[in-house]
């Protein structure tokens, strides 16, 4: 049961408690740059998901080889090589998808969350845990990207998941909805300042929910073993 408890803790951390954006306030550069629409957010999220799983797995597998003194250059080297590799391979073999996601892939290099996970988690945990952490952190990040993209898209142009069929294929055309018909548009939300404003609202919302949850279950807290993230 301990194993599943650990996995559940990692999942809860990645998706909610220690979410890359909400909990760690990392990865704001790619976050604000691409969340003009929910579709773009989803694209960036999926691309990041793949790379963060791979980088977590690789770094965890090589963790005994990597001396603490030179860990940062090695992490940077691995992540940059991985992103470039994904970029080249997608350009060659998944060209249609690359034309949509290409812009996002190169942006992943600027995502400090990957380095953050490598440093705080993957370099101290087993490969299985690191892969699971990458998956959950990636999912949590995707979730925020889609939520922020959706909020900005609805307030900027009144649509949701516009052009999802370009990213995911024709069968996902049903995702494209016009939420507010005849909406005149609110340019600010599509521009970078709108991203900051909407992100602030989302973070406030998350804090409020956390507060409510905390007041509801004060007395019955069973201390679960904290996983090694903070230990070593």
């Amino acid at each position: 049961m301990f194993i599943s408890e650990t996995y559940r803790k990692i999942a809860a951390d990645g998706i909610w408690n220690n979410n890359i954006v909400f909990g760690q306030n990392l990865a704001l550069c790619p976050l604000l740059a691409v969340t003009g629409t929910a579709t773009n957010g989803l694209g960036m999220g999926l691309a990041t998901l793949v790379v963060i799983i791979a980088s977590n797995g690789l770094i965890s597998a090589a963790r005994h080889l990597i001396p603490g003194e030179i860990r940062i250059p090695i992490f940077v080297l691995l992540i940059a090589a991985l992103v470039t590799l994904v970029d080249i391979l997608m350009n060659a073999w998944a060209h249609e998808l690359y034309k949509v996601l290409g812009l996002f892939i190169a942006l992943i290099v600027t995502n400090c969350a990957l380095l953050g996970r490598a440093e705080a988690f993957a370099s101290k945990q087993s490969v299985k845990h690191a892969l699971w952490d990458g998956l959950m952190m990636g999912l949590g990040f995707t979730l925020v990207l889609v939520a922020l993209g959706a909020a900005r898209e609805i307030s900027a142009s009144g649509t949701l998941f516009a052009n999802a069929s370009v990213l995911l294929g024709e069968s996902f055309r049903f995702l494209e909805v016009t939420v507010i018909p005849g909406y005149k548009g609110f340019l600010l939300m599509a521009l970078p300042p709108g991203g900051f404003i909407m992100l602030a609202f989302l973070i406030v919302g998350k804090r409020l929910i956390d507060q409510k949850l905390a007041t509801r279950k004060v007395p019955v807290t069973v201390l679960t073993p904290v996983i090694a993230e903070e230990e070593s």
Binding site: N40, P67, L78, W93, S157, A190
Partner: protein, 245 residues
């Protein structure tokens, strides 16, 4: 090539020895001892750099051709969108002519024109051009023009305009760009080559005027470029002689 069983046995033993050594060396306790040593650290960093560069180099070399082919396919596809396939029977990518275009402010000092020929006669031309002054950077476009200077089609290849507002210049998001088909400098007065807000013929978008305005102006300049070189472009004799140079 065949090896006798004794050699194979010896090789197998050797491999087993190496594997044993590697396994012992990779033990966490052994690595923990090695890690503080400067030689080990240098070696590890060099090793990772070597692996990464070899991997990237090999991937780059082995995919270069494929990527070039994909880019050619892309170019061909965009050419086909602005020049109907019925109009030509030659390979557009091979039949090209470079003309100077610095004075037209369409992004490049020299523009490669792809020439469509049907049974040896030029039926249409097609070239890429750029509106360098879009709302957030260059808007790259491609245009097909028939031999009588009418637009066969215009498409936006890439741009950085505001998603949801300025990106309606893409054919995937709105049919705005299709309104140029059939237009020419002859059937539309110069003053009408503008958005409606400026007294012209073409729609602007709600919340985005600069993007369509600059696109219209660039298309107009593209047509002027064609007009200036029309004789040279639609007369096959002129580029045959050019090929030989």
């Amino acid at each position: 090539m065949k090896f006798d069983p004794a050699t194979i046995m010896r090789l197998k033993e050797k491999i087993a020895v190496y594997r044993e050594f590697l396994k012992k060396w990779l033990e966490p306790s052994n690595l923990a001892e090695l890690r503080p040593k400067l030689e080990f650290q240098t070696g590890v960093l060099a090793g990772f750099a070597l692996i990464a560069s070899v991997l990237l180099g090999v991937t780059n070399c082995s995919t270069e051709g494929t990527i070039q082919r994909r880019l050619d396919e892309d170019l061909k596809k965009s050419l086909e969108e602005v020049v109907p396939a019925a109009l030509y029977d030659n390979d557009l990518l091979l039949d090209t002519l470079n003309i100077p275009s610095a004075e037209y402010n369409i992004g490049a000092n020299e523009t490669t024109v792809y020439i469509a020929k049907k049974s040896g006669q030029v039926s249409a031309v097609c070239f890429k051009f750029t509106a360098p002054d879009g709302y957030s950077g260059a808007i790259n476009m491609i245009m097909g023009i028939d031999r009588n200077a009418n637009i066969l089609g215009v498409r936006v290849l890439s741009h950085k305009e505001t998603p949801g507002l300025g990106d309606k210049i893409e054919v995937a998001k709105s049919d705005w760009i299709l309104k140029f088909t059939g237009r020419s400098l002859d059937n539309l007065a110069p003053a009408k080559w503008a958005v409606k807000k400026d007294g012209g013929e073409f729609d602007q978008f709600a919340g985005a005027t600069i993007t369509p305005r600059k696109s219209v102006q660039a298309i107009y300049r593209g047509l002027q470029l064609f007009k200036a070189h029309q004789e040279q472009l639609i007369n096959p004799a002129s580029h045959q002689s050019r090929d030989k140079e």
